[in-house]
Amino acid sequence: MGSKAERRIGLLFVLPAIMLVGLFRLFPLAWGFVLSFTDSNGFGRSSFVGFDNYVAIAHDPVFRDSIENTLILIATLPVWVMLPLLLAILIHQGVPGGRIFRAVYFFPAVLSTVIIGSIFNVVLRFDGSLNAFLKAVGLVPVDWLGNGATALASLIAVQLWATFGMSLLIFMAGLSTVSTELIEAARLDGARPLQIWIHVIVPALRPIIEFVAVVTTIGVLTSMFGLIYVLTAGGPGTATTLPEFLIWLEQGKMNQPGYAAAISMVLFVILGGLAYVQIRIMSRNANL
């Protein structure tokens, strides 16, 4: 096979996808790269300034805060992976009500971050439901979203709560491929549940744990915009500003796109390394 017609039509069929991706993703990426080395002001004239924008962002306290917030966020990643893993194993082992749990845990993940953020804003703000409840039971109210430390913690907790069901599903799919004979054999040898988890299940799931860790990291760097936008707007101060939100703030100031582009490039480099690993896993799976 591979007739002349097939060769031509094969290319033709991929063309719409390539054009869309090329025009709206690859071309803007190249443009952004060039832009990041210019002092473009958005109105025609711009000149090449070398690494000036990069030097400037290195000295920008807001950018530094956003990186610091990212590092704090990344430090919490073990929880993002281990919590759904633990829950998936419990469901797999037949916890009572497991099937209901599986469906319900995933539910917040289908809701928009704007929806979740708006609801939690009503719950967490100083005159909100949580504080009303705390006062009612005689505890001290906390300014969850107005205080720097608790604002970031609240943001992280809400995002974790909203997305752990997704990782749980992936772990469940992985667990269904773990040989039950292996588990049975270990059980017959007198292994206790915890030993089975640590020595049989977790090693068998290793590739999936890696996959979830990578996808979650990319997720926390790229999918919190909606939540930040309605829950904290990056504040108070810069307490909940992450790079992706900072880029949004900078692009709003249309007079310095070169600067915003430079921040984008830094985010791209961070994401690029992570995504490279993810794509290797995915292209291995597509067996082309």
Binding site: L11, F107, A132, A173, S264
Partner: protein
Amino acid sequence: MAVLAKRERRLLWVAAVPMAVLALSCVYPVFFALNNALKTNKGYILDRFGLVTAPTLDNFVTAWQRARLGEYFVNSVITTAGAVLLLLAVSSLAGFALAMLRFPFRRFLFLVILASLMIPVQVVLVPFYRTIIALDLVNTRIGLIISYTAFFLPFSVYMMTAFYSRLPRELVEAARMDGASILQIWWNVMLPMGKPALITLGILNTLYCWNDVLISLLVLQKERTVMVGIAALRGEYTTNVPLLTAGIVLAAAPIVIIYVFFQRQIVNGIAVGAVKG
């Protein structure tokens, strides 16, 4: 599961308690929104936690009309439906070609599409915005449809390619023997055979497009989609929680309905896409 030791079963019962609490917290927001949406503003302030006693639909009417969520809803329906149809058409064409046809640069083109997964909208925000301005697509629904398609496409192409590459290539050859053109093979053979993957992708992309804020904030600035409308509602009516929650219920309703009806496809689609390819 095989016979479990008594101790082990007791442990699972103990674990079920915190798990049930977590499960309750996952459905609580919908209850919270619905319960408060039915109250009057005064009723809410007087009793935040109580079940609604005298339910009213006024908030829904106000959100729909005065807060213009009705208009935004129409924008969301049109752009989501348009983008999902375009996504399915483009990705099934590309997936069919990449998996089943033999042509030059096949592998390379697949890798280019897959690699563009690395470019989320945040990374190209500024130049992407300038591109759609240059193409005169800002503030148009078609502009948003095309933007959604461009950003949600790589995953769909990946899924379709993975799906079709597991079908035998003889399907194509047999149909060609019968004199079908390749376009006819796509329409008459590949689309029907690809139905399970198309349904999953249709649902997932509907979720992504309907729930998006960032791309639609950028592209549709004068008109709004319903999610951007909710974000604005939160800013404009900060003290009117019942009105906000009524808007939330309206905006989330289509997604909740889809989830209830298609839960299996959503769950399987995500698991398959992530683990098995």
